[in-house]
Symmetry: C2
DNA sequence: TTTTTTGTACAGTTTAAACTGTACACATTA
DNA sequence: TAATGTGTACAGTTTAAACTGTACAAAAAA
């Protein structure tokens, strides 16, 4: 009876936490998967995840791989256990911020580069001042991307 | 010939900029729509947007409405013109950061509240220490949400 | 070696999101 | 008043994402 109640609360916590994880651009499944691994705390197998979340093992395999790529989950070894074991990284704020800020920085740098390339193309074809408007807009866009870049680089310093 | 080339560059700029806008959780259409309005600079009608992007007027209507809700686009009036006119807000960094930080703050506050509610439920049903594990995890989650809250509130100060 | 176990590639299916077209309400003009 | 123009609600369609099940490759056990 008490256990039942606690299981219910535990599940509610998982659902709420998963909503937060989704904010970091993780899919609903990845979010629930991470939340589950984090709350359980101990290394778990694909079958255990599949059983607990009621989803296919394939989904667990691809989902947990994404989480490992993002450095949110790590694979662990235990002697005598043949199955792969996965465990959630416990440093929530550090890890989530780390990959999220990096994502923004990489994205804005890529855009900036592409826009600079377009700017030089524009300069070359600009024999008259007929395109002053687009020229100015492009400068404003570059300014915007610079500000984004600075902002997220600054933000990632605050851990 | 030159015009043609400039149109091509203009369109490339639009596409690149739209990619950045998508990072703020706007749909591809909303992103392209905003990019178009921003680059054109002048107030435009739904028909003009529809024509330029090659999408239905209904899409423009719903899309531009979202953009207005996010304060990225404003409706403007011009005497003699019956159709609705919409213009992009020019302060890119200020406006995008503003709604994005707010979105994070609201979301984390909501989760925090939900988790606090679950915490009090957990306390009530905790007659023994059997649930110390989940109790600790919940505290860690609340700590995480607090850090997120502080981070984004601090970040939104830096405009 | 053969047999068993485990993770994942891939094709197919289900589910959700994006988008369209018609129909209509509301407003403006005549 | 009627006639025309304009935005959007809504239902339906298309498109993309999420998810599943089988089948197989790699590795371990027998």
């Amino acid at each position: 009876m008490l256990d039942c109640n606690n299981e219910h609360i535990k599940n509610s916590i998982l659902l709420e936490f998963a909503k937060t994880v989704e904010l970091f651009d993780l899919s609903p499944l990845e979010a629930r998967l991470f939340a589950f691994l984090y709350i359980e705390g101990v290394p778990l197998t694909l079958d255990q995840m599949s059983e607990a979340l009621g989803k296919s093992k394939t989904s667990m395999s691809t989902g947990v791989r994404s989480l490992v790529d993002l450095n949110l989950v790590k694979r662990v070894w235990k002697k005598g256990v043949r199955k792969d074991l996965f465990q959630a990284n416990e440093q929530l704020f550090k890890q989530f911020m780390s990959f999220y800020m990096k994502k923004w920085i990489v994205a804005t740098e890529d855009r900036k580069e592409a826009l600079l390339e377009l700017q030089s193309e524009l300069e070359q074809s600009a024999l008259d001042q007929s395109n002053e408007h687009i020229h100015n807009k492009l400068n404003d866009l570059l300014d915007f991307h610079n500000k984004l870049d600075v902002f997220f680089k600054e933000a990632s310093k605050n851990k």
